[in-house]
Symmetry: C2
């Protein structure tokens, strides 16, 4: 008989203290007694990562990236051992493994490493021995050779990626991401009370939602799931309720094409006013920003007027100060008139597979915002998304208007339920 | 020109918070700019180890030994990275290494591993690159083969052992143990105000002091230093003052033979009253205690009277409960009359090389205690030590009496100063 292999990931809030760790252990024990082999991926307890960052910054303004990774990785080591101990206390055989012990190697980039390879020999051996295997998320080592091996971390939310990568390498039957929400919604339920939980969502749509600020799952984890055909279930660690499946969506043609709304407040607008309209200007602006490690999004350049043009783009709000510093020295050099910035903006997006090929969605979006009295400051589009930048204080109004306009409360025509879980 | 290689170990109180870590870094930077190559061993910050133990016990009464070691080892990983960051902030090149990265392998016994081998290839390479190398103390891995490698810890104070083992493997010129005291004293200065700091002490004497409760250094570290001829300096991390050298003592014959006093409150007395005086009884008592992992010390069996005898011994105070549980079931089986225990006792010892061969010391000790009105409950001796068990509340009186009787305030006839440091 095939014993199902399930990968489950529990985030920091699910293991924030001893009580919650025991609760997670009980949930794992239930799944175990139902007959599954289990690989559990854990994040650091609660605010541990932030506390360690604070400690590092109390020592130096610019902690070395290598040392910081080694420091942060301890958070997941700790939670992994504690979950293992809690399982022992329930009589469940378990063993915790560091990222390196779990056979996870990365490309070696500190703070934002990508998983290069997973060699789950040790995990398989421990499963064979009857152990539930607890893997410290968020990390891997830079090389298999112990003499050069460094501890590297995968960046914020990296434990999601650990879980999906392990599910792919182990050909797991299921990959469950336990979070503090019940699944993926048509919009943030804290802002849109009518928001509805989706039973299933396609990878591409999920990617856009994640890209556009829906912080349920790390973007890279979704990409990895897509490439490896891993069906991911997002569900609550605090209640027993079906979550949302992220998978190739065979019903996409029968659906309302807008699957959900995303929004992002972590954004600031930068405008270079009256930049001379000549070749090489864009490079002169964006190369120094890239060199400073600033992520630029939503670049909009208006049609030139009288040899000059306005160039606007967005940056993460926390990086606005750094971006201003880089750009202020450029303004004169470029011959621009001035630099303006606005940190009280937000992005709102409609997301759905095939939006690009279906005419009328953009017009319907702009119309709904206009009817609600919301001014659009910038627009950008992708294959599966239309995004508008608006004033931050109009975000709730905008979301409610769009949720209504695209009838997102209406149930899916075909509800794919959790029985679809084992499909690839 | 020979560049001196110095191993320095900083304990938990020296790196208890960001301020102290920066202070330690400044001290290291000074030594560095004086032209030494440096390998730094650090303990976990302040009470980190105890906090992690508390956390583990909040989850389960009996944490698995393997998981506990993996959990505790994170404390030293953290402090090592933070010291490294603090050095970077001072412009000093530095890199932190875990025990495994530093090439430390152990015999694999969780919670009390012994260092089996040190292969300092990576440390040497980092020194060549110009780095100060910060090694996480207290730990090593159980095997060089990554597939079986487990993280093991060396037990309380294990960072001392890490430092001495590295000094031996690297043939370091100096091994300095920074603590919260200025060195080794003739007695605990908190209890005996007249206590005097010793400029030098022999390995064997230091071992007895450590065994008998002087908690300045881990016993195993002293043993390792002795076997490998590592000259160890114990000194304060909070002030610039010469410490105490632990080394083969060439002046031992010229000295007052009693070098110092030790005391230990962490002790409880157990007596089996009227045990039948027949072969096999001792084994019947001590085998079950050993199986329960209880350390027994100072065994005294009185001369038999009427076919029965009293058998007394000491156990660590924290293990008295467990010892009683083991023994209570034995009392009837053995035919003993009763089991009595006393947790309000203490041991006081005089320590000095050659004590055993020099008659009169025992008599002088017993006489001094009698003159001070202190009753002796048990006596044991070794090559370099005479120990008496007394009531705990008479400890200060006993120490003062012995310090006077053996003229311990008198300076050494030949003061070996820090210039002897580089000798082997």
């Amino acid at each position: 008989m095939h014993r199902p292999l399930v990968v489950q990931k529990f985030g920091g809030s699910s293991v924030a203290n001893a009580d919650r760790i025991r609760r997670v252990a009980r949930r794992i024990a239930r799944e175990r007694s139902a007959g599954s082999d289990l690989v559990i991926v854990v994040s650091a307890m609660g605010d541990t990562t932030d506390e360690l960052l604070t400690l590092a910054h109390a020592i130096t303004d610019e902690p070395d990236a290598r040392e910081l990774d080694m420091l942060l990785a301890t958070g997941e080591h700790q939670s992994a051992t504690l979950v293992s101990m809690a399982l022992h206390a329930l009589g469940v055989d378990a063993i915790s493994l560091t990222g390196p012990q779990a056979g996870i190697t990365t490309d070696g980039r500190y703070g934002r490493a990508r998983i290069a390879n997973v060699e789950p020999r040790r995990i398989r051996a421990e499963i064979e021995r009857g152990n539930v295997v607890i893997v410290a998320g968020f990390q891997g080592q830079s090389a298999a050779d112990a003499d050069r091996a460094e501890i590297t971390t995968l960046g914020r939310g990296g434990s999601d990626t650990t879980a999906v990568a392990l599910a792919a390498a182990l050909r797991a039957d299921r990959c469950q991401i336990f979070t503090d929400v019940r699944g993926i919604y048509t919009a943030d339920p804290r802002l849109v009370p009518a928001a509805r939980q989706l039973p299933v969502i396609g990878y591409e749509e999920m990617l856009e939602l994640a890209h556009q600020g829906a912080q349920v799952m790390q973007v890279r984890a979704v990409e990895l799931g897509w490439v490896n055909d891993v069906v991911i279930e997002v569900l609550s660690s605090f209640e027993d309720a079906p979550g949302t499946l992220i998978r190739e969506d065979p019903f996409v043609e029968q659906r309302n094409k807008v699957r959900g709304l995303a929004h992002d407040r972590n954004v600031a607008k930068v405008t270079l006013v009256d930049v001379p309209d000549r070749p090489g200007v864009a490079r002169a602006v964006f190369e120094p920003l890239a060199e400073a490690g600033i992520n630029v999004d939503m670049i909009v350049q208006n049609v030139g007027h009288g040899g000059a043009t306005d160039m606007s783009f967005t940056v993460p709000r926390a990086e606005l100060g750094k971006a201003k510093k880089v750009l202020e020295s450029l303004v004169r050099e470029l011959g621009a008139r001035e630099l303006t910035t606005d940190a009280s903006v937000a992005k709102v997006s409609i997301v759905g597979a095939g939006l690009h090929n279906a005419p009328g969605y953009a017009a319907r979006m702009f119309g709904a915002l206009a009817d609600a009295g919301v001014n659009i400051e910038m627009i950008s589009t992708s294959e599966v998304r239309i995004t508008c930048m608006i004033a931050e204080d109009e975000l709730s109004t905008a979301l409610a208007a769009l949720h209504g306009a695209f009838e997102l409360t209406r149930p899916d025509p075909v509800d794919v339920t959790a029985t679809g879980l084992s499909a690839g």
